[in-house]
């Protein structure tokens, strides 16, 4: 991390100051346009409308009512907290499940075989989330393949209720986001020189110690960037909670959806959207702070 920071420092100090570089500014214009027109402006519009309500005369006036509504209604902020907690949990699960896979693909099997398995891993992306979600419905339903199999071999007498629960929702969320953890973790693991592992074992480290003190710290930048992507995908996902989670699973995106499209209260919807944005940014900021990573390193 500090290696990169130092590089940045030297880059900055060696950059000639006050030199007006026309080409550079010309090149920056498209980027700025893109940022402003497509990202900043719509969000600003949303931000403004989140602070507005319609008064009795049908005019829009400034108010905090939209945000107050959120805190007044228990179900809203319960959903909010649950969404955050589940998103963190799913991210952690995604790491636990995919890390051994990434390690296996980069360090155990040959490059050629690894390429084939990576292609297999990508299949869910080819067919899209909606199709995979329906796929899970077929698998997890009361008359689905898993229950059918469990009953056939006599483990259970009645179908287990898996679909439309938190369990099925988590499966769906994991399935659509896991890949985004594998890829960055694999790329850091690929750059891990095998002789580091050998050096550690030469110095008396057991397998577990090597994992804990060498492999994990080394792949931390990849893990953190993978975790950020997975977390953002999960916290903002709508399909898996809505279809696989059913009525009982509350997800904050569903609340936002309802505001916009069921109750047509766009102002409150905008406020909820902003709360979600702040929530995910806040959690990512905390995670970066505690893992000791810097955004510039994670991004590279």
């Amino acid at each position: 991390m500090s290696q990169n920071a130092k590089l940045q420092n030297t880059l900055q100090t060696t950059k000639p100051k006050n030199s007006f570089n026309v080409t550079l500014y010309l090149l920056i214009i498209p980027v700025l346009l893109w940022l402003v027109l497509l990202i900043v402006l719509p969000h600003l519009d949303l931000l403004v409308s989140s602070f507005e309500i319609e008064n009795d005369d049908g005019e829009m006036v400034f108010s905090l009512a939209n945000y107050i509504a959120f805190f007044k209604e228990e179900i809203y902020w319960l959903t909010f907290v649950k969404t955050a907690a589940y998103a963190i949990g799913v991210t952690a699960l995604a790491f636990i499940i995919t890390f051994p896979v990434a390690f296996y693909l980069t360090k155990v099997i040959s490059k050629k075989n690894a390429a084939f398995f990576i292609l297999l891993l990508l299949i869910p992306l080819w067919v899209g989330e909606l199709v995979t979600v329906y796929g899970w419905m077929v698998l997890l339903g009361d008359h689905g393949i898993i229950n059918h199999f469990l009953m056939a071999i006599g483990i259970v007498d009645e179908p287990i209720n898996m679909l439309y629960t938190d369990f099925s929702m988590i499966i769906g969320l994991l399935y659509m986001s896991m890949l985004f953890m594998v890829v960055p973790v694999m790329s850091t693991l690929e750059s891990l020189d095998d002789s580091l592992i050998e050096a550690a074992s030469d110095l008396g480290a057991s397998k577990w110690t090597i994992f804990r003190t060498i492999i994990i710290p080394y792949s931390m930048p990849g893990i953190v960037s993978g975790a950020i992507i997975v977390f953002m995908l999960v916290i903002g996902d709508y399909l898996a909670p809505n279809i696989l989670g059913g009525k009982s699973s509350l997800w904050f995106t569903e609340q936002i959806y309802n505001k916009f499209l069921t109750t047509f209260n766009w102002n409150e919807g905008a406020a909820f959207g902003f709360l979600l944005l702040m929530l995910s940014s806040g959690i990512i900021w905390l995670a970066l702070k505690f893992s000791g990573q810097k955004l510039d390193r994670v991004g590279s």
């Binding site: 002789s195 550690a200 060498i214």
Partner: protein, 350 residues
């Protein structure tokens, strides 16, 4: 002194390819043993077998009288300095050096004192908090050596540790490493393809070629009395001549040069003569010295390593002769002819 390491009939095969073939040697406690060989001859493989990273195909590694068969790397009383150092990039200098000690579950005060002692020994006091990625090549080198030495291994294995350094620094580290080894008395097994490193530092050198040991000897003997043609050609500079036949005591080269030599060998094939074994203008009355005429083609000036490129008069055989840089030979010029002599013991036939 007893033998700290014994290698018996060690062979390593990768599939059909034999990387190490029937190697035998032993190293005395406190010795500096070098393995010298060209790239790809199996040096690293041999070292990795001793360290326990590669299982041997056949044979045995014995350390302090105990067979190492089936003993994993972390349980062997040896430590290795890797060819590319393998410092832990996410740790600072202190954490790198302390890594092995922490695994021994020593108290923090003991770890601190041993790390500090080792860092001052390799001249890195004050660098404890530095990132290893921010160090210079020579400093990284020292961290790698300190990280292994702090474990107080019975044997320290070094795999071309100076390979990545520039020439000046390498010359410097060479001397430093030798002094360090003398001071702490740990047995070093040192791998290199640089003969000067091996000759300067070692008590004993093994010359390795295509997985086999050609000769194990002291540096002086290796240089003076190479046992095989490969060693004669590999260690030090040599003029090499293909022999076509012998007539009694006379050796005749492919290009028609004949020189007298009482050879004990029945049918020698090649003749080696070191450039510095040739005496320019030998005085009369030297015994057992063969003299002949040469013509100077050009002078290859290289400071203390300056040589004359010559042809043996009357033949097309080319001969390099060391030219001492004292006033005596300042007047030599191209095209000049000279008498040179060589002691018959310096004519090496194989």
């Amino acid at each position: 002194m007893s033998n700290i390491l014994e290698i018996k009939n060690l062979t390593k095969k990768f599939g059909d390819f034999t990387a190490v073939e029937d190697v035998n040697f032993s190293v005395k406690d406190g010795g500096f043993f070098s393995i010298l060989g060209s790239s790809g001859c199996g040096k690293s493989t041999l070292l990795r077998i001793i360290a326990g990273f590669e299982p041997e195909t056949e044979g045995e590694v014995i350390i302090r009288g105990e067979s190492m068969k089936g003993v994993p790397p972390e349980k062997r009383p040896v430590n290795i300095v890797f060819q590319h150092l393998a410092l832990f990039p996410m740790m600072n200098v202190r954490e790198n050096v302390a890594f092995g000690l922490k695994r021994l579950k020593l108290s923090n005060t003991e770890i601190d004192s041993r790390v500090n002692e080792m860092l001052s020994r390799v001249g890195l006091e004050g660098y404890e908090k530095k990132d290893v990625t921010a160090l210079s090549g020579g400093q990284k080198q020292r961290v790698a050596i300190a990280r292994s030495l702090v474990m107080k291994p019975s044997i320290l294995l070094l795999d071309e540790p100076l390979g990545a350094l520039d020439r000046k620094l390498r010359e410097h580290m060479k001397v430093e490493l030798k002094l360090l080894q003398r001071e702490i008395g740990t047995t070093f097994i040192y791998i290199t393809h640089d003969q000067s490193e091996a000759l300067v530092m070692s008590d004993e050198i093994a010359v390795m070629h295509e997985g086999r040991f050609e000769q194990i000897d002291t540096p002086r003997n290796l240089y003076k009395n190479p046992k095989t043609a490969f060693v004669a050609g590999f260690v030090g500079d040599s003029n090499r001549f293909e022999l076509s036949r012998t007539e009694g005591d006379t050796l005749i080269t492919n290009k028609g040069w004949s020189i007298n030599k009482k050879s004990s060998m029945a049918e020698p094939k090649v003749l080696y003569i070191r450039p510095e074994a040739l005496i320019i203008n030998p005085s009369e009355g030297l015994t057992d010295v063969e003299t002949f005429g040469i013509t100077i083609k050009t002078i290859l000036f290289d400071g203390s390593n300056t040589k004359l490129a010559t042809t043996v008069t009357g033949t097309t055989e080319e001969l390099l002769i060391s030219l001492p840089q004292n006033a005596e030979f300042d007047g030599l010029s191209e095209g000049q002819t000279l008498q040179v002599g060589v002691h018959i013991n310096d004519l090496k036939c194989y």
